[in-house]
C-alpha cells in the first residue's frame, strides 16, 4: 500500500516530537527511517499506526485520506506495526496469540454478532503463513519460552493474517540472532515483492543499507533528507548528526591510579548480552557512554553500581574486588548511582527532602533526630542550591531541583559515580551547574561514568568515550581524537575501524 504522510505535527508538552513531517512510502518498497534517539522516528510510526493521535497533518492510504485514530482503525486500513518490545501475551501459546483479535462473526442463531474462532482452521492458517515466510515456530509453544526473534515472527504472521498491507518494523534487529535476521529480511523482501510496503525503523546503517530501497532521515523532529540506497555512509551520517561535534570543555582531571577495573566482564539481561571484556577507568576521569538507548550503556552502569551481577568476569574498585559483594558494600565503598528516571528509581514520591536526607544517613538510634537532621538538610539545600523547602515533597520539585537533590544524596566520599543522563530535562542553568559540580568532584579524584543521548554533552565533558551498539562496545577513544564520522559509524554498528585503546 502506498502511504503518504503530509505535514504531521505532534507536540508533547514543551517538546515538538514531529514538526511538519512529510514522507511517502511507495507500494512494493522497503522504506527505511533513520535518526538519532529522540529524532521523532517512533512518534511518526506510532501516529501512522494509530497509537498516538496527531495534532495536525494528513495521512493518505493509496491516495485516499485515512482517518486513523486507534490501532484498530489502522489495522482495518491495512497498517500493522511490529513493536520493538513485542506486544504479545507471554503466558499464552503461540496459537492463542495468533487467534487474538480475529475470528468470524456469526450472522445468525442465538449467538449472532459474537466472534468465534476455530482453532483447527487457525492452526492451518498459521502453518500456511509460517511456511510461506520460512519461519519455524511451533504453534503449541508458550510465548514466554520463545526468543525475541521468534516472537517477532509470530507477530508478523499474526499481522499478515489480519490483512496488513503495510508493515512497520520498529528496531527489529536488536536482540535477534543472525539466522533470525536473515529470515526477517527475506520475509520483508517477499512482502515487498507481493506489492506490500514495509517501513523499517532502525539506527543500524548496515541493516538499512542491506535491506531498504529508500531512506528518510529525521533529526530533532524534522525530516532532513530522503535518499535512495545505495548511498555512501558519510552522506547518511551527515544527515543523521548534521553538525560539527562540540569541542571539549572539561579541564584535565585524570590521575594515573586506576579506580575501576573490569576483567573479562560479560553482563546479560533478557534482551542484550554486553561483552565488556577488559576495561580500566582512572581516578578523576570522566567516561562518556555514547550510543542509542538500550545498546548496553545502562547495563554497564548498573553493573558498576552493584545493582546487577556480571554473568562472568571480575569488577575491582579502588583495589578491592567487588564482584560478589552485596549492593550495600558498594555504597560503603563510595560508589554512587544516579538514575535517569528520578521519581522511579532515585527519589521516593511522597517523602520530603528532609526525609530523604534522614534515610540516606542511616543512624543506629531508634528515634529520628528531627532537629539535628533538619540543620544538616538546610546546609545541603544551600550547598546544592536546591530550590525547595526542607519539607517539600520531592515530586513537587522541578526536574533540575530533583537532580540536585539526587546529587546531594550521593555517598560521601564518592569514589565512583554512575550517571544516567545527568542533565536530561534540565534547563541550561541547571545543566551548567550540574557539570560544574561533577567536575569539582573529579578534581578530588571521583571517577564518573555517564550515559547520555546528547552527543554534545558527551563530547564536551568526557575524557574518553565508549561507543555502544546492540551490546557491542568499542575500545575507549580519547575525546580529542574522535570525529563525527567515526562516532556515527560506530553508533550505527560498524566497529571495523575502531582503534585499540590508546592508553
Amino acid at each position: 500500500m502506498r502511504i503518504e504522510l503530509q505535514g504531521i505535527t505532534k507536540r508533547f508538552g514543551q517538546v515538538l516530537a514531529n514538526d511538519d513531517v512529510s514522507m511517502t512510502v511507495e507500494a512494493g518498497s522497503i522504506h527505511g527511517l533513520l535518526g538519532e534517539n529522540g529524532a521523532g522516528k517512533s512518534t511518526i510510526v506510532k501516529v501512522l499506526s494509530g497509537f498516538i493521535s496527531r495534532d495536525s497533518g494528513n495521512v493518505l492510504f493509496d491516495g485516499k485520506p485515512a482517518n486513523v485514530r486507534t490501532p484498530s482503525d489502522a489495522m482495518r486500513s491495512g497498517v500493522g506495526m511490529l513493536h520493538q518490545d513485542p506486544l504479545d501475551f507471554p503466558p499464552l501459546t503461540v496459537l492463542d496469540n495468533f487467534m487474538v483479535g480475529r475470528g468470524e462473526v456469526l450472522s445468525k442463531g442465538l449467538f449472532s454478532g459474537l466472534k468465534f474462532v476455530n482453532p483447527d482452521r487457525a492452526r492451518q492458517e498459521f502453518r500456511r503463513f509460517a511456511e510461506s515466510l520460512n519461519f519455524s515456530i511451533n504453534p503449541n509453544d508458550r510465548v514466554s519460552d520463545l526468543t525475541v526473534g521468534e516472537r517477532q515472527q509470530l507477530e508478523i504472521i499474526r499481522l499478515l493474517s489480519l490483512g496488513v498491507k503495510t508493515l512497520i518494523l520498529d528496531e527489529p534487529t536488536t536482540g535477534i540472532s543472525a539466522d533470525q535476521k536473515t529470515a526477517l529480511f527475506n520475509a520483508a523482501r517477499q512482502l515487498a515483492s507481493e506489492g506490500k510496503s514495509v517501513i523499517f525503523v532502525s539506527h543500524k546503517l548496515e541493516d538499512v543499507e542491506e535491506l531498504c530501497d529508500r531512506v528518510t532521515v529525521m533529526r530533532s523532529g524534522k525530516v532532513v533528507g530522503n535518499v535512495d540506497i545505495p548511498c555512501p555512509d558519510s552522506v547518511l551520517i551527515d544527515l543523521i548528526f548534521g553538525k560539527e561535534l562540540a569541542p571539549p570543555l572539561k579541564p584535565v582531571t585524570r590521575q594515573s591510579e586506576p579506580m575501576l577495573q573490569l576483567n573479562n566482564v560479560v553482563v546479560k539481561d533478557d534482551r542484550l548480552t554486553l561483552n565488556m571484556g577488559d576495561f580500566t577507568a582512572y581516578k578523576g576521569e570522566v567516561i562518556g557512554l555514547a550510543g542509542l538507548e538500550g545498546s548496553g550503556q545502562q547495563l554497564l552502569l548498573l553493573l558498576c553500581a552493584g545493582l546487577i551481577k556480571p554473568a562472568s568476569g571480575t569488577i575491582t574498585v579502588d583495589q578491592s574486588d567487588m564482584t560478589q559483594k552485596p549492593y550495600s558494600d558498594y555504597l560503603k565503598h563510595g560508589i554512587g548511582y544516579s538514575p535517569a528516571d528520578r521519581l522511579k528509581d532515585g527519589l521516593i514520591r511522597g517523602l520530603t527532602i528532609h526525609e530523604h536526607f534522614i534515610l540516606r544517613n542511616p543512624s543506629q538510634k531508634l528515634m529520628i533526630d528531627w532537629k539535628g537532621s533538619h540543620q544538616k538538610t538546610l546546609e545541603a539545600i544551600a550547598t546544592f542550591n536546591i530550590r525547595g523547602k526542607f519539607n517539600s515533597q520531592v515530586e513537587r520539585l522541578s526536574g533540575g531541583n530533583q537532580q540536585r537533590t539526587q546529587l546531594a544524596l550521593l555517598p560521601v566520599p564518592l569514589n565512583l559515580l554512575l550517571m544516567e543522563h545527568p542533565t536530561r530535562g534540565l534547563d541550561i542553568e541547571s545543566t551548567l551547574w550540574v557539570w560544574q559540580q561533577l567536575i569539582a568532584r573529579c578534581q578530588t579524584g571521583t571517577t564518573i561514568l555517564f550515559m547520555s543521548s546528547d552527543l554534545d554533552e558527551i563530547m564536551q565533558y568526557s575524557d574518553r568515550i565508549l561507543v555502544f551498539s546492540g551490546g557491542q562496545v568499542s575500545a575507549p577513544i580519547e575525546t580529542s581524537k574522535l570525529t563525527v564520522e567515526k562516532l556515527g559509524q560506530m553508533i550505527g554498528g560498524r566497529f571495523v575501524e575502531a582503534e585499540p585503546a590508546s592508553i
Partner: protein
C-alpha cells in the same frame, strides 16, 4: 490542594450517608429511627457501652497492625488467619499452664504466646510473598484457610470437649482465667489498655523512628529505597511480623476476654473489619481510634435493629462498606482530577 482533597473526602462521606439512607428507605424504615436505634443500642445501657469497648479493643489492635503493612505497601489480607493463630497459640498456652501457674502469669504468657503465634503466621505470609514470589493477598488468603482448618481440627480433635465435640468450641476456661472486667460487663480494662498501648506504639514507631520512615520509603518506592541503601527485604518482613503480632494479640483477647475458649471462627471477621478501618484512615494513625470506635458502635448498635425495627443487623456492614467504598472513590476521583494518575 489539601483543601480539595478534604472537600472530596467530606463529599464522599456525605454521599455514603445519602446512599445508606436511600437503602434504609427502600427497606421500608426511617433513617432517623435507624440512627437513634443504633445510638441507643450502643450507648443505652452500661452493658451495651461495655460491649462497644470490648469490640473496639481487638479491632483497634488489628487496625494498628494493618497500618504497618499498609505503610509498607502491602495488603495483608492474611490478618484473619493471624488472629486465628493468635487464638490457637493462646489456648495452647493456657491449656499448658492453667493447672500449674498462677492465673495472672498464665494469662500473661497466653497473650504473649498469642502475639508470637500471630507473628510467625504473618512472617510465613511474608516469606511466601518475598521469597516465594506469591502475591501477599493470595498468600494471606491461603493461610487464612489453613489457620481456620487448624482451629477446626483442634476444636473437633485433640482439644474437643469431653464427650461432645461441637462448633461451640473447646471447654470453657475457668473464670479465674478470664481477663478482669469493669464490674459485671464485657469490657476489660486490660484489653482496652493493650489497645491504647498498641495505638501509641504505632503512632510513635511510624511517625518518629527511623524504622517507620524506612517502612514508608519502601512502601512508596521499593526500587528507589533499595538504590538509597535501605534493606527493603528486612523492612517488608518486619512489617508482616509486626502486623501478625498485633493480630495475634487481638486473637488472644478474643480467647481470654470475649469467648473464654477457642471457637472455630475465633476472629469473627474482625480482621476484615479492621482492613476497612485502616483503609478509611489512609496513612493517618490518629484517625484509627475514632474510626474503630465508630465501627464498633455501628456493630453493637445494629444488634438492636432486628428486635425493634425488623431490619437485618447486617445493615452495619452495609454502612461500613459503603463508607469505605465512597471514601476510596473520593480519593481516586480527587487524584484523577489532579491528573496525578497516569493512563
Amino acid at each position: 490542594m489539601l483543601n480539595r482533597t478534604l472537600t472530596y473526602q467530606l463529599g464522599a462521606i456525605v454521599l455514603a450517608l445519602v446512599f445508606t439512607m436511600v437503602i434504609i428507605l427502600l427497606a421500608g424504615a426511617s433513617p432517623i429511627a435507624v440512627f437513634t436505634e443504633i445510638i441507643s443500642g450502643a450507648f443505652g445501657t452500661p452493658g451495651q457501652f461495655a460491649r462497644v469497648i470490648a469490640t473496639l479493643a481487638p479491632l483497634l489492635i488489628c487496625a494498628c497492625g494493618l497500618l504497618f503493612t499498609f505503610t509498607a505497601g502491602l495488603y495483608n489480607l492474611g490478618i484473619e488467619g493471624q488472629i486465628a493463630l493468635g487464638g490457637i497459640a493462646t489456648t495452647f498456652m493456657l491449656r499448658l499452664t492453667q493447672d500449674n501457674l498462677p492465673p495472672a502469669v498464665a494469662l500473661f504468657l497466653a497473650i504473649l504466646a498469642g502475639g508470637i503465634g500471630g507473628m510467625l503466621w504473618g512472617l510465613f505470609a511474608g516469606v511466601l510473598n518475598i521469597y516465594g514470589r506469591i502475591n501477599e493477598i493470595f498468600a494471606g488468603l491461603g493461610l487464612n484457610f489453613l489457620a481456620d482448618g487448624l482451629a477446626l481440627y483442634l476444636v473437633f480433635g485433640p482439644w474437643k470437649r469431653p464427650g461432645v465435640a461441637s462448633m461451640s468450641g473447646t471447654e470453657q476456661f475457668p473464670e479465674s482465667l478470664w481477663l478482669p472486667t469493669f464490674g459485671n460487663t464485657d469490657a476489660s480494662p486490660i484489653a482496652l489498655l493493650l489497645a491504647l498501648i498498641s495505638l501509641a506504639i504505632t503512632i510513635v514507631v511510624l511517625g518518629r523512628t527511623h524504622f517507620g520512615l524506612k517502612l514508608r520509603a519502601v512502601g512508596q518506592n521499593l526500587r528507589a529505597s533499595y538504590v538509597l541503601g535501605i534493606p527493603s527485604i528486612r523492612q517488608l518482613l518486619s512489617s508482616f511480623a509486626i502486623c501478625g503480632a498485633f493480630a495475634g494479640i487481638a486473637g488472644a483477647l478474643q480467647v481470654v476476654a470475649v469467648f473464654h475458649r477457642l471457637i472455630p471462627n475465633i476472629s469473627s471477621g474482625l480482621g476484615f473489619l479492621a482492613l476497612l478501618v485502616t483503609l478509611l484512615a489512609g496513612m493517618n494513625a490518629w484517625l484509627l481510634l475514632p474510626i474503630a470506635f465508630f465501627f464498633s458502635t455501628l456493630n453493637i448498635g445494629s444488634l438492636q435493629l432486628p428486635l425493634d425495627l425488623n431490619l437485618e443487623s447486617s445493615l452495619a456492614g452495609v454502612i461500613q462498606g459503603t463508607l469505605v467504598l465512597f471514601v476510596i472513590l473520593g480519593k481516586g476521583f480527587s487524584e484523577w482530577k489532579r491528573g496525578t494518575v497516569g493512563r
